[in-house]
């Protein structure tokens, strides 16, 4: 590969795929007074869809797409790791939906789904729990009732749960063999501490050990309610027929006690000094690191503008960070930056990796490059290029049924509408140099930066201490740093 598209996977940060789009290139020699040039990247609008609610409050999104004879169903419940009482309960509840329901064992379900060539999956992120299926359109009357059963009346079979839990606990240890897999969890914990946004959706080995199916049942009962959920269906179907099916399958799903929403905007920690979390991996041959701080919420009106600015800093191949660290210095295979937004907050991170010996050089160069945002700002030619790039790379993110179903689920979860798609080009085109300066001074954390370094502490502890107060943990220690 010439370079990674996303070298720090964000498995559970579903919005990341929309947001990390942005990035930039620096045509450093161009004068700031240059005339703005808008590149025509063609017209792209939200395909037609319907949005309505059943009487029980279930939100329904229907979007017919006929290119291939497939259907994607994506149900989302407004609950996630931020609601965890025991760490990982939301994640394990979501995954345990697949362990059997309504008289069908896990094995029955898997045989049936695989035989149809279909696939089905469930997981929880920070703020949403998802169950999704994709299958051939002809199999709708087998798959849609199955999704209903799994979502509404899961069995939470105790034996199957024990096996799943054991596998997940082993998986947590295994995930730590790859720093790239887990570094984001350490970073969220460092930035948010005990605030719910610091909760790892995966839980930890000790917290999973505590869990039992009674907790899962209680969690499911509290949150998996139609008034707290949506279902998005995209693909090859007739909307009128689908409405009838949905009414009959989901119309009798009833609500329980009112859902308690956590106060996420409150009590987010203040980052009053630079801190370094040094995660020791004794046999590491390179240092993987993140630098950053607080970011923005998904509903921030500057969300789109920030994608453009971040494109310039670290969102595309010719971005300042990648150009300096990779192309000019040869220190790394890739350097990026990006905002990960949640509903009431978020994080901003610079991410890269380098061999142990060049850790200091790479961190210093990343910081120096980041400081250009304030020291030099952005010129018109670079801004124009970033705008063209962001617009040009936008439509392929919304091409498949799966992508559209995910978008509709996110619209429900984060409360935005299709103006996000329909006004995207206009919003990008309207961004001025003055706007970028305001965005930089308002939203990019300039000081009191937070660092996570995963590497060989014997080699890099001295380097780590130069950037803030150091806490050192062992990578195989349970949890993610606090």
């Amino acid at each position: 590969m010439k370079h990674f598209i996303n070298h720090i996977p964000q498995k559970l940060s579903r919005l990341a795929s929309v947001f990390v789009v942005a990035s930039a290139v620096g045509l450093a020699g161009c004068a700031a007074t240059q005339q703005s040039v808008s590149v025509d990247t063609g017209s792209f609008k939200m395909p037609a869809y319907e949005h309505y609610q059943l009487d029980n409050g279930l939100s329904v999104y229907l979007m017919p797409q006929k290119e291939v004879p497939l259907i994607t169903v994506n149900a989302v419940v407004r609950v996630g790791a931020v609601n965890d009482t025991t760490s990982g309960v939301a994640g394990m509840t979501a995954q345990s939906l697949l362990l059997g329901a309504n008289g069908q064992s896990k094995s029955d379900i898997e045989q049936m789904v695989d035989f149809l060539g279909a696939s089905i999956g469930a997981q929880a992120g920070k703020e949403g729990s998802y169950i999704g299926a994709d299958f051939m359109a002809k199999d709708i009357d087998k798959m849609l009732p199955l999704v209903r059963d799994l979502l509404v009346s899961p069995d939470f079979d105790a034996n199957e749960f024990d096996k799943l839990r054991q596998r997940e606990m082993a998986g947590l240890a295994q995930a730590k063999e790859s720093p790239r897999n887990v570094i984001g969890r350490y970073f969220d914990k460092l930035v948010f501490g005990l605030h719910p946004y610091g909760n790892p959706s995966s839980g930890t080995r000790t917290s999973l050990e505590e869990l039992n199916v009674s907790q899962l049942r209680a969690f499911h009962k509290s949150y998996y309610q139609p008034s707290n959920s949506s279902i998005a269906i995209v693909g090859d179907f007739d909307p009128a027929v689908m409405k009838t099916k949905l009414a009959s399958l989901f119309g009798t799903w009833s609500n329980g006690e009112a859902v308690q929403a956590p106060m996420l905007a409150k009590q987010q920690p203040t980052l009053d000094k630079s801190r370094v979390l040094l995660v020791n991996k004794g046999d590491a041959i390179e240092t993987t690191f993140l630098i950053g701080g607080k970011g923005v919420a998904r509903d921030n009106p500057d969300y789109v503008g920030l994608q453009v600015v971040n494109t310039i800093l670290g969102g595309r191949f010719t971005s300042w960070l990648n150009d300096e660290l990779r192309v000019n210095a040869g220190l790394t295979y890739g350097a990026r930056s990006g905002f990960t937004p949640y509903s009431k907050g978020g994080v901003f991170r610079i991410s890269t990796f380098t061999k142990s010996e060049t850790t200091k050089e790479a961190i210093d160069l990343a910081l120096k490059t980041y400081a250009r945002l304030w020291e030099k700002g952005i010129d018109q030619a670079t801004l124009d290029s970033a705008k063209a790039y962001v617009k040009g790379q936008f439509p392929p993110k919304f091409e498949t049924s799966g992508q559209m179903a995910e978008l509709l689920s996110d619209m429900y979860l984060y409360g935005f509408d299709d103006a996000f798609i329909n006004d995207f080009q206009k919003n990008v085109d309207g961004l001025t140099l003055a706007d970028t300066q305001r965005l930089i001074s308002t939203h990019f954390p300039q000081d009191k930066l937070q660092y996570v370094l995963i590497g060989n502490a014997a080699k890099i502890a001295g380097v780590a201490a130069q950037y803030g107060e150091v806490t050192q943990v062992e990578i195989d220690a349970i949890g993610f740093g606090q």
């Binding site: 291939v68 790239r180 993987t288 990796f353 380098t354 061999k355 790039y389």
Partner: protein, 443 residues
């Protein structure tokens, strides 16, 4: 390089034309060949205002020799570092300013350059690609900085991927003659050792238009593509065909084993690799279905036999499309408390059970359905279309095979699956690799 991308190419195997669909049909693909031998295929699709250009070059680590291992992949990097009209950094800057993005991947057999862009930037893409094909500027400074990048790519792969770590070792043991012996990224010392001459010669030989297939999919018109191809690509001269790869790997006559120690590995990983024929073999389809029977979905053999029984936490198989006979990989990650040997025995027992008892008709139907779903998913995007069409053109000799695949898969019987398991998934034909924190003792 990236296994996942290759796995994607591999998984998009089938189209069952008997199913009524609006998905792409063979007649939707138009093709023409320039006088210099460059073949260009076009798939019009206006579902989004974007298009892709995929350039498939018939060069990969297979074309290397000891001393320059990894050069095909290194070259992939160099193709972005400046040519005559678009100097250093200008390929990416020009493309991105037009709204486009790009990447590339190298495998054992081919190198593929990918451009993704708003359709009205098509001419810019032709101009950029023609410049670097005809007039690449290979200079010392660029080579030196790019060595660091590739060394970092190699390191980060080994740091983050157990699969990568094991595969590198297992290839070295399974092949002693054929160039599939080394990893695509190459040996560390070779990365440090390429010379400018090596690169110049490599470019002239392998990046000739007669060694390429180009696929363009998206919101474009055939006539427009023809005109641009004639303007930009046709003037680039053809070259003498590259030397053939003649080495035939000698028959393996007994099991081979390798061990890799890594302190941070939480439980042992085991990889098995069996020699299998090239993709053009009639046995390809049965082997591909066998791979799915073993590991696709939770109802698969290895999931049921190992993960459900808490012997493994993860199992996977992989069989790359390949010009020459290559390997069929099976990998497992042990559950805590399970030794490498127990995991290995469990994996082999499941594989051997298919050789001994065969598979059911229902199991076979299941994996045919899975292949069909994979095909539709690939055909859902212009990106998937471009990649799939080109991949079939190269590995099967014609994109037509993509549309004949349904028949080929449908013809596979349970007896065929059992026969290929018996023929290829044998002990003497196997290499075993173990990755663990500590090696099991002899005592």
């Amino acid at each position: 390089m990236m296994r996942k991308i290759i796995a994607l190419c591999m998984s998009i195997g089938v189209l069952f034309t008997s199913v009524a669909t609006q998905a792409t049909q063979a007649e939707d693909i138009k093709s023409f060949t320039l006088d210099n031998g460059m073949k260009i295929m076009v798939l019009e699709d206006s579902s989004i205002p974007n298009a892709n250009m995929y350039l498939f070059w018939k060069v990969g680590s297979r074309n290397e020799v000891p001393g320059i291992t990894g050069i095909s992949h290194f070259f992939e990097h160099m193709m972005f570092n400046g040519a005559k009209k678009y100097g250093p950094k200008m390929f990416d800057r020009t493309m991105e300013a037009a709204g486009g993005a790009n990447n590339a991947y190298t495998t054992e057999n081919i190198t593929v350059y990918t451009d993704w862009f708003p359709a009205n930037a098509l001419e810019t893409m032709f101009d950029l690609e023609a410049d670097r094909i005809a007039n690449l500027d290979i200079n010392e400074k660029m080579v030196e900085s790019e060595r660091g990048v590739v060394a970092s790519e190699r390191t980060t792969g080994l740091e983050n991927s157990n699969w990568r770590t094991l595969q590198e070792e297992i290839k070295g043991a399974a092949f002693r003659a054929h160039p599939y012996s080394w990893s695509v990224i190459g040996h560390e010392s070779d990365i440090a050792a390429w010379t400018l001459d090596d690169l110049v010669q490599y470019h002239k030989t392998y990046y000739a238009p007669n060694n390429a297939v180009v696929v363009i999919a998206g919101d474009v018109k055939l006539n427009e593509v023809k005109a641009l191809a004639n303007k930009y690509f046709a003037p680039i001269p053809a070259q003498a065909p590259p030397r053939e790869v003649k080495t035939v790997e000698p028959l393996q006559k007994g099991e081979r084993r390798v061990y890799v120690q890594k302190a941070s590995v939480s439980t042992p990983n085991v990889m098995l690799a069996y020699h299998v024929p090239a993709t053009t073999s009639d046995d390809y389809y049965a082997l591909d279905l066998l791979s799915s029977i073993l590991t696709t979905g939770n109802s698969s053999r290895l999931y049921q036999g190992l993960v459900e029984k808490q012997v493994a936490i993860e199992v996977e198989t992989y069989m790359p499309m390949s010009f020459d006979p290559n390997l069929f990989y099976v990998m497992g990650v042990a559950n805590p408390g399970i030794t490498a040997l127990e995991l290995e025995k469990g994996m082999i027992a499941e594989v051997n059970r298919i050789a001994r008892e065969g598979v059911s008709q229902q199991e076979l139907e299941k994996v045919k359905n899975i292949k069909l779903m994979d095909f539709y998913r690939a055909m859902e995007t212009i990106n998937g279309k471009a990649n799939t069409v080109g991949t079939y053109e190269l590995y099967f000799g014609s994109y037509d095979k993509l549309f004949n695949a349904p028949e080929a898969y449908n013809k596979v019987t349970p007896a065929d699956v059992q026969r290929v398991a018996q023929t290829y998934l044998r002990r003497a034909n196997r290499t075993v690799a173990v990755l663990a924190a500590t090696e099991e003792s002899d005592e």
